[in-house]
């Protein structure tokens, strides 16, 4: 998902405190910033919320790639509003992470120097306008699967950020699907673009949920802490089950010859993505890893003088105001 492969931290603390903490979570209470929490809980959350925030920010890039080429004024405004929402979501999540004692600038530095990751999906390129549809429909669709249950996560600020995000994000998936619906009714070239997008995006979208639970060593602790609400395989299955009929309605073929309804399970059977590709992407060898980080680094470096100047001006203004007040007193 937007937070993949989050390692939970081992916790060595007072067993009595730990038990009380777990009891609160089991009782459905929210943990708030000033409450006692195990160090492992705090660190895991920073990593998870941070990665989620980074994914929103890096996630602006593949879609931002098409803003200046959007084919109508309406589509241009839709896409711009959507990419802007992602900046907003990144902002809410960074603020949630900040309540755990890490600053936004620190998190940004960790993204840029590779200490922190973002979702593998954003290391894939957007090559045609149909990708704007596929990203909205498949990528945001997959993200929503994960984000809806996270509204009930145990950490208060994270849960509240997710509530806001889910509310705002509801239009994203529909916007993508709508775009594809329109293109599928269009010319042969437009339909070709849509199928091409489907072919490229399907498996990367499945990878968003992370490796199978059999291989996921960190899930258990995070699920006990209610910072991970469902297993990767559960969510992936749910995503496939919901997406197959949607693809059929569009007239798009899912690039998986093993895809078929399994009456016994009551679910679709489908092929696993190529996990070696996933691990390559995570390690930095995806098609766009280098470009994505370079783009973020450039924005960060180019913006440094602006951030500094605005702060310097605020200081000067405060000093002038204070001097003025002193003069009035004298």
């Amino acid at each position: 998902m937007y937070a993949q492969m989050i390692k939970s931290e081992a916790t060595q603390e007072d067993t009595e405190k730990l038990a009380a903490f777990q009891a609160r979570i089991d009782a459905g209470q929210k943990i708030e910033p000033k409450d006692w929490m195990p160090e492992g809980y705090r660190k895991t959350l920073i990593r998870q919320i941070g990665q989620h925030a980074h994914s929103e920010i890096v996630g602006q890039l593949p879609e931002g790639n098409w803003i200046t080429r959007a084919p109508s004024l309406e589509r241009k405004a839709n896409l711009l509003a959507k990419v802007q929402d992602e900046a907003g979501h990144g902002l809410y999540l960074y603020c949630a992470a900040e309540t755990l004692g890490v600053s936004r600038d620190e998190l940004t530095e960790m993204l840029l120097d590779g200490r922190m990751k973002y979702s593998s999906i954003f290391n894939y390129p957007t090559l045609t306008w149909a990708d704007m549809g596929a990203v909205g429909w498949l990528v945001d669709g997959a993200a929503i699967m994960n984000q809806v249950p996270l509204q009930r996560t145990s950490y208060g600020p994270y849960a509240r950020a997710m509530v806001r995000i889910c509310k705002e994000e509801s239009f994203h998936q529909r916007q993508g699907y709508h775009l594809l619906m329109h293109m599928m009714k269009g010319t042969k070239e437009q339909r070709r673009m849509c199928q091409d997008a489907m072919n490229r995006m399907w498996y990367p979208a499945l990878m968003m949920f992370g490796p199978s639970d059999k291989d996921s060593v960190h899930s258990e602790q995070s699920m006990r802490w209610k910072i991970k609400m469902n297993t990767n395989d559960e969510l992936r299955q749910k995503f496939v089950d919901e997406t197959v009929p949607q693809a059929k309605y569009l007239g798009l073929e899912i690039p998986d010859e093993n895809l078929r309804w399994n009456d016994e399970r009551g679910h679709y059977d489908f092929s696993e993505p190529d996990w070696s590709e996933f691990f390559d992407v995570i390690k930095g060898n995806g098609p766009c890893n280098v470009d994505r980080i370079a783009a973020r680094q450039k924005a960060w470096d180019d913006g440094a003088w602006v951030r500094e100047a605005m702060l310097a001006h605020a200081d000067k203004k405060a000093a002038r105001r204070a001097a003025g007040e002193l003069k009035n007193v004298a």
Partner: protein, 94 residues
């Protein structure tokens, strides 16, 4: 690392005359900019008519370890709630 813009807590009063409600936080170099940023970040969907911002460090908060003494004493004062008082239906709306 250079100095970071301070963190502000944002409170917005919605359309219907309710109290200002905490909606989230953001960064800004000063209070004027924080209000503008709050307008741009937190009212994109026509959510508000009035904005307050407070620099996060200036918020004094009750400590969670005092949660018991702070809030439990009010729990048994049911007489502060209207449903404590049984009023016959014949009296009409009250």
């Amino acid at each position: 690392m250079s100095r970071e813009w301070p963190l502000w807590e944002v409170f917005i009063r919605g359309q219907h005359g309710m109290s200002h409600r905490h909606v989230g936080s953001l960064h800004a170099p000063d209070s004027e900019r924080a209000i503008k940023n709050a307008r741009d970040v937190y009212t994109r969907r026509n959510e508000g008519v009035s904005i307050w911002v407070v620099e996060a460090k200036h918020i004094a908060a009750s400590s969670p370890s005092e949660k018991g003494p702070m809030f439990e004493p009010s729990r048994d004062k049911v007489y502060r709630h209207p449903t404590f008082y049984d009023i016959p239906d014949e009296v009409g709306k009250m």
